[in-house]
Amino acid sequence: MQSDALRDVAARFGGALTETSKVSTISVPPEKVVDACVAVSKLPGLYHLSTITGLDEGEKIVLHYQFWEGVRFVDVKTEVGKSSPKLGSLCAVLPSATLYEAEIQDILGVDFEGNPYRGKKLLLSDDYPAEAPPPLRKEADPAEIRRLMKLE
């Protein structure tokens, strides 16, 4: 029922729509992700942003913005390069994204331009070493982080 509207959104932001029995995924380029999420959230019943999931996939970081309506999820998916991952923030239009973005900033090192927690810590301790990679990245080595934090 929502498929046509979602296909529209995908087309408008240069993305593609794929559907499984439970999840409709709209893949969009990183510079369009904020607009695509806003467009999705304006569709009937889709105002609820369940969360934002970040994944380290080797060379890139993949993000899923998961909206829920009825028996389905709508995932707006995008990917950014790992060297300097940068995205626009959703906070100005969808304040519910504030803490989810801040969490991803902490654990995967994605910079969300416009998030009030930008450059501040939400989950990590204040003395988390700046030279250590964000802890959920594949290259993060717990033993090395403990050494840098002088815990052993």
Binding site: S50, D56, Q66, P95, S96, P135
Partner: protein
């Protein structure tokens, strides 16, 4: 950045230099919060949430453990709604596989999930009673909650960490004759809950401390996306069990409770009504319980794929994202617990109230945390920062209302 965004994250009017890190606060949670309150006199004007003091890196740890070991790991995220975590994870993983979960297991899952909801809501009701200065309620309710914990132990083998839901069903069948033990207890809980509903409505201590306190509007709720009772008390009828049924909720349908006031009093009313409805649903699960197997055969590896799954935990929507690449360990599991979704709404609820209302309002969101013991206070009139303990804060609230500030 818009003013509204900064305000909703609580970052305006206050520079981060004064941010004082304290905690750890509660060993049993992923997300104990610490709120920094900015006051003008006694009025709260700004609230800054900072979480993560006992963040244990469970999502990272899960990537090094096998699928089965992860069930036990995720259960330890929460010491109250542990079954909701294992239920969400196992069903999220089952969605990637061809495991045929037997019908009996689905009904048993509903039974245990509803018993857990009853004990979680009763725990909360007792705590609100305690923070409001009505300790008799606290003792009564927690005594009644023991009945449910005993049932939990009889069914699953443990009171808290049940380790009951597993891939393909549940770990063991219901013990013989347990239905005869459960039914009278559910009737007892229903009777007590009906009494408590009347009690909190008529008892002055409760109504003075909760009516019109911690109000959140429906518009704000749509904006900040809280989940569970916090959302439903503003009149929005959203419940994962009803909207996106899992386990046997397509057959055992919840009577979704909503209230319109959006204050702590409406949360009290709503949660007690949910206790009664949960008792009804647990009893229905027993009545409709089919025979047959309680667990399907499963494989050690999970086929490659991604799945989004959520359940209605006692505090609201609990979300799991699971990614497998066909190995014996998961690639990535992302968990969004209900309290994480509710924090921003809680900061809204506090604004405009006095320090005396903080314990009741923060407990009102059912945050599952013990950090009430450490609250930092910054008085903008006096430009100094001090902290007060949870017990002092509780006493402050009680004295404040005793002095006749109503």
């Amino acid at each position: 950045m818009s003013e509204r965004t900064e305000a909703s994250a609580g970052l305006t009017q206050y520079s981060p230099e004064g941010m004082m890190p304290f905690g750890p606060v509660h060993p049993s949670l992923k997300e104990p919060e610490y709120f920094k309150l900015i006051l003008e006199g006694e009025k709260i004007v700004q609230v800054i949430p900072r979480i993560g003091y006992v963040h244990r890196g469970i999502e990272r740890a899960a990537q090094d453990r096998t699928w089965v070991k992860d069930i036990y790991l995720f259960e330890r995220i929460c010491g109250i709604c542990s079954f909701a975590h294992s239920l969400s994870f196992t069903q999220g993983v089952e969605a990637l596989t061809k495991f045929e979960v037997p019908k009996r297991a689905k009904y048993i899952r509903v039974l245990v999930a509803e018993l857990e909801r009853i004990h979680s809501h009763l725990l909360w009701l007792g705590l609100v009673g305690h923070w409001a200065g009505f300790d008799t309620l606290f003792m009564w309710v927690w005594k009644d909650r023991e009945h449910i914990l005993d049932l939990s132990e009889a069914i699953t083998g443990n009171r808290v960490h049940k380790s009951y839901s597993t891939f393909g069903g549940v770990r063991k069948d219901l013990p013989d004759g347990i239905a005869d033990k459960i039914r009278p207890e559910l009737k007892y809980i229903e009777k007590r809950a009906t009494y408590y509903a009347e009690l909190v409505r008529s008892e002055e201590t409760m109504s003075v401390r909760t009516k019109g306190v911690g109000r959140v509007t429906q518009e704000k709720a749509r904006e900040l996306c809280p989940v569970g009772p916090l959302l439903r008390c503003t009149g929005i009828s959203r419940d994962v069990r009803a909207e996106d049924p899992y386990a046997a909720y397509d057959d055992i349908v919840p009577d979704v409770q909503t209230r319109v006031e959006g204050d702590i009093a409406s949360l009290l009313d709503l949660r007690i009504a949910e206790v009664i409805d949960s008792a009804r649903m647990a009893s229905e699960a027993l009545d409709k319980l089919p025979g047959g197997a309680f667990k399907a055969p499963v494989t050690r590896t999970i086929p490659a794929g991604e799945s989004d799954f959520h359940v209605e935990a006692p505090r609201g929507e609990l979300f799991y994202f699971v990614k497998s690449s066909g190995r014996s360990v998961p690639d990535r599991v992302k968990i969004r617990t209900p309290t994480m979704a509710n924090i921003l709404t809680a900061t809204e609820m506090l604004k405009g109230h006095t320090l005396a209302d903080v314990p009741v309002v923060l407990t009102g969101m059912d945050p599952c945390f013990g950090c009430m013991d450490r609250v930092a206070v910054l008085d903008t009139n006096r430009s100094k920062e001090y902290s007060i303990s949870g017990e002092d804060l509780r006493q402050l609230g009680i004295d404040y209302y005793r002095r006749g500030n109503r």
